[in-house]
Each structure stands twice: as structure tokens, then as C-alpha cells.
């Protein structure tokens, strides 16, 4: 789901640090350094990186802007190869039979089996194309807030990790407790009360 979709799901974050150098340079550097790497024809199962909002399949940050008005917009791309377990099982059985007939033995060791399985997975990851998933990121640098357009746990975790690695800034998820604790409308004594809250019993 992207920003321009008819329906979106959003996780909100607060950025804890301020930009020390130029916003454009800092973001451009982080995006370029950590852009998505294609893994088709490479024995790698997953790739996580940044891509451009307007053309997510050509992650070219040199020729495309990521500044839209007061917002920084780009996308997280997670490419994953899913190898069906039944396909792995079938290829392991075929390769094991081949090995048995070539060696003339009637058994193969646990280590040999492990090696065969690893080879099979290696061969299949070379052949199977990856499936891309794209999640838009909208960074309002004036308000130090970030919207990540997904509420999937794994996508959010990949996003938080890559964001911190790319821009050396920490993201804090905004959920009820953090919203209240970072607010400017609760006094210190109210924040103290907040940290001691217990669930309300509505029926007793």
C-alpha cells in the first residue's frame, strides 16, 4: 500500500535526533548507501533496502528527488525468495538417490544429507526470482515525525533497523504510552502518575 493508494495502514514514529548537517545531504547519503540490492541470479534469499517512491524498481537516487514540499518521501523494499519446502524435499530426494547410485553405497551420512540440502537450496535461490514488497515512508522533518505505511511487525522491524543504520537516528514508535510521555501537555507530576497507572475496573 502506498501513499497514493485509496486505503492505507500507518505506523507513526517520532525521530529522536535532529539533523546535524544538511538534511538533503544526510538523507541522500543514507539512501544511496543502503539502497536495495537486486538478488535475482544471486544465491541470496532476502534483500532489504531503500528505493525511490516514484520508481521503486529502479532505485536511482542520483536522478530522482526524494523531497516533496516539506516531506522526505522514499520507500522500503523487501525482496524475498520463497522456496516451497516440498520443492526442496523433492530435489533432496533426487540428489540423494543420485549420490547413492554413484557411490554404490546403500546409505548416506547425516553430514552428506545436510550438504545435499544446502546445495539444493543454493541452486534454487539462484533460479527462483525474488518477490518485492514496497512500503512507503513519509518523513516530516519539520515535525520530526515519520509515517511508515505498513503495520506488519516484520516490515516495521526491518524499517526501524535500516533507518537507524542509514541516518544514525532513532525511531520511537508512537503508541498510547509514548504519545503521552512525549507530550507537551502533561506536566511532570502527571507523567509521574502515568508511569504508575493500573488498569481501570469498569465492572466492580
Amino acid at each position: 500500500m502506498g501513499i497514493l493508494s485509496s486505503t492505507v495502514s500507518v505506523t507513526r514514529y517520532r525521530v529522536n535526533e535532529k539533523f546535524e548537517k544538511s538534511i538533503i545531504d544526510t538523507v541522500a547519503q543514507g539512501l544511496k548507501k543502503n539502497k536495495i540490492i537486486e538478488i535475482d541470479d544471486v544465491p541470496q534469499e532476502m534483500s532489504v533496502g531503500w528505493t525511490t517512491f516514484e520508481n521503486p524498481f529502479i532505485p536511482d537516487f542520483e536522478n530522482r528527488s526524494f523531497i516533496y514540499g516539506n516531506y522526505i518521501i522514499f520507500s522500503l523494499r523487501i525482496d524475498k525468495k520463497s522456496i516451497p519446502s516440498k520443492l526442496i524435499k523433492k530435489r533432496v530426494i533426487i540428489e540423494s538417490s543420485k549420490k547413492l547410485s554413484e557411490s554404490g553405497r546403500d546409505y548416506i551420512s547425516r553430514n552428506e544429507k545436510k550438504q545435499i540440502k544446502e546445495n539444493v537450496i543454493h541452486q534454487l535461490t539462484l533460479k527462483i526470482p525474488s518477490t518485492p514488497n514496497i512500503y512507503d515512508v513519509l518523513w516530516n522533518y519539520e515535525e520530526s515525525t515519520v509515517w511508515f505505511l505498513s503495520t506488519q511487525k516484520s516490515a516495521n522491524e526491518e524499517f526501524e533497523t535500516l533507518f537507524s543504520k542509514s541516518f544514525h537516528m532513532t525511531l520511537i514508535r508512537l503508541f498510547p504510552y509514548t504519545l503521552a510521555d512525549f507530550s507537551d501537555y502533561l506536566s511532570d507530576s502527571h507523567k509521574d502518575n502515568l508511569s504508575k497507572l493500573l488498569p481501570t475496573k469498569f465492572t466492580e
Partner: protein
């Protein structure tokens, strides 16, 4: 400031109580449905409510009420048994425009947010304008929910919550 993961788990109940309160004020106390400029917010329960009743430390009961004309009495019955709202589907109206969305109590995740329809992006030059329009429309929902949460939490951290608000919610439930 507590560790984020610790505070998330320890204070999950705050968001669930907030959604329960939202349902209560929609049904009983619409004077509290106001934004930071004291303007009324037109908010209605949509077609989905999920409640959770913690039976004991290890088990919970989930009650899900779905449908355009769903009878919310079952939800009230669940509240009577000690459940709290964990997810709400809401409609927000402004003039003739309608926003529909789900909000989850513990995470404040907004899912299935459908703002009023906007024009299609046909030219590359339209993208900037379309983004600004979408941002404005999505912000509306975060804005009203933040305004309502501010009202709720300001009340929740004071003795007024237990003294005044909880008795009113109890009399609605029971």
C-alpha cells in the same frame, strides 16, 4: 522514560481504555467529541468492534462484532463481563466527506484508512499536489485521534478519572 518494549507491554491497557472511552462518549457524552479548537468532531462507530476479556493470566476471550447493522448490545454485554475494546472501526465526517478507519488500542495502528476520494494522478507534475492532498487527508484522522487522546489521558492521570468519569462509564455498562 521506560524502555519502549517494556512500556508497550506494561501499558497496553491505556489504549484499550481509550477506545472504550471513545465508544462511551460517542454514545453518551458527545460534548467531549471536540478537537483542540473546541470544534465538534463528527465521529461514529463503524461496522466492526473487537473486545477482549482477560479471563485469567493465561487466557483471553476475543469478541468480534461485525456488520453494517450489527447489534452493539453484545458488545455492552462483553463490557459487563469485564471486557475492554481493543479495536474500533470508526467513521469520521466533515461536511459531505467521510473517512473510514480502524484503530487498534495497544499500538494505535491505523489500518484500512480510507479518506474521501481524490483525483487520479495522470501526469508526473500532479504527484506533488496529490501527496500534499493525501497527507492533509490522513493527518485529519491523526489530528482528531490525538485531540481525543489528549482529553482522555489528561483525565486518566488525574483523580477525576476514578471519581467522575469511571462511575459514568460504569452506569452506562451496567
Amino acid at each position: 522514560m521506560l524502555d519502549i518494549a517494556v512500556s508497550y507491554n506494561k501499558f497496553k491497557f491505556i489504549g484499550n481504555e481509550f477506545l472504550t472511552w471513545i465508544w462511551y462518549i460517542i454514545e453518551n457524552d458527545r460534548s467531549k467529541l471536540i478537537d483542540h479548537q473546541k470544534q465538534p468532531i463528527s465521529l461514529e462507530i463503524g461496522n466492526h468492534i473487537v473486545l477482549e476479556n482477560r479471563i485469567n493470566e493465561d487466557s483471553t476471550e476475543i469478541i468480534s462484532i461485525k456488520g453494517d447493522d450489527a447489534d452493539l448490545k453484545e458488545g455492552i454485554l462483553a463490557l459487563k463481563k469485564g471486557a475492554v475494546v481493543i479495536e474500533l472501526h470508526l467513521f469520521f465526517k466533515e461536511n459531505e466527506h467521510v473517512w473510514k478507519f480502524n484503530i487498534k488500542g495497544e499500538s494505535f495502528h491505523i489500518t484500512g484508512l480510507k479518506p474521501p476520494e481524490t483525483g487520479k494522478v495522470e501526469e508526473k507534475e500532479d504527484i506533488d499536489g496529490a501527496i500534499l492532498e493525501k497527507y492533509y487527508l490522513y493527518s485529519k484522522i491523526f489530528g482528531i485521534m490525538d485531540d481525543l487522546f489528549k482529553q482522555f489521558i489528561t483525565l486518566r492521570v488525574t483523580p477525576e478519572w476514578e471519581k467522575k468519569e469511571v462511575p459514568k462509564i460504569k452506569s452506562w455498562i451496567l
